[in-house]
Symmetry: C2
């Protein structure tokens, strides 16, 4: 082991996969730092190159080794946020097991709220970029939202089938529920956690009303 290598390893605690791997790691650190800034209340459109660089602890021009320009960073941030959300949605899906429907829903919504609290900065970012004048942002976000909406529909149909309810024609209901979830999130952004918990009960009743329609 040469001296230079030893020094390097002291400087960077996690050697990971040298160079290429480290570059990836830095890129990730940049995205995380930007997300944290959003979490601290900065709006995504206000995120400055220097601000992000400062927050990640590197010189401003270094950013250009990872992103061609600020828009590319913005898009990457959106995509990173969407990846987080999707994994959240996926984990929530598995929650819908056994028990009676009301109880399962209650549990599912608790998980939903937990995810919101955890991914708050990603959500905030996505909401604000949802109407970014640059159509690239909107396109990505809408594509993923559409996927999630379809996932919800399929999930509902599958659950209904398992529980022996009548099949088909669930798209109206699932779209309504998707709308309710979206507006819940939008409204939750300005609530503290207690208020979110409180409003969650209303959401639960609303969803129950939709779901129960065919079972009265």
């Amino acid at each position: 082991m040469t001296l230079s290598k030893a020094v390097t390893e002291l400087k960077t605690p996690k050697p990971s996969q040298s160079r290429k791997g480290r570059k990836e790691e830095t890129r990730h650190r940049i995205l995380m730092a930007a997300l944290q800034l959003v979490d601290e209340g900065r709006s995504p459109s206000e995120l400055g190159l220097r601000e992000v660089a400062r927050s990640v602890g590197m010189a401003a021009p270094s950013i250009y080794n990872h992103f061609a320009d600020m828009d590319e960073l913005g898009i990457a941030l959106v995509e990173e946020s969407l990846v987080r959300l999707r994994s959240v949605a996926r984990s929530a899906r598995k929650q819908m097991q056994n028990e009676n429907l009301t109880k399962a829903l209650k549990q599912l919504l608790q998980q939903f709220l937990l995810s919101i609290n955890e991914s708050e900065s990603a959500l905030r970012l996505l909401i604000m970029q949802w109407f970014n004048p640059n159509p690239e942002y909107r396109k990505i976000i809408r594509r993923d939202m559409s996927i999630m909406r379809q996932d919800l529909a399929e999930n509902m149909e599958q659950t209904a089938a398992e529980k022996g309810l009548k099949l088909g024609e669930f798209s109206l209901e699932s779209d309504i529920i998707f709308s309710l979830l979206i507006t819940y999130i939008l409204n939750a952004m300005d609530m503290d956690k207690a208020k979110r918990e409180e409003r969650l009960k209303v959401l639960e009743q609303q969803i129950l009303m939709i779901v129960m329609r065919g079972r009265l």
Copy 2:
């Protein structure tokens, strides 16, 4: 009539109420010009002082005769947009007359879509400012949204009473419908008019499903 007065009247076709009235008029022209810029695709946060001034046809510093700073202009823009929306909502309310419920709803939704198309720039502005990091913006918008939601609830209860339906406990339903209207608007922003018309049918079915629940 002195020469100077004559010249002035030539320059400004509408004399209105001199000075004070003209100042009010100019202020209004500034707001309209800003809204038009939003309509042309600029995001509200991108609206520059000079850009607005250029669009209204005056020197940049003149803006300061009407607004203390850019934030005051931004807030005024939000308030102007909200006034427009409220008048829209008020006119729609009167639409809900006689006939059978399904037909009345159809008519109401047509009016709703018409209003969206007309007030598109105001809507766009409000949506984008809904999550402005400056809490002042959010506060105003949420206050007005809350009022509109309550208006809808009262309106539904009143209509139900007139038609002899069972009273009370409509808040769940009206909140669901309000959520559906909001998400419809959000999604409509990226649709052309044909697509909006098409999606309106889905919205109609969704609302019918909610409203009909108690009457099956």
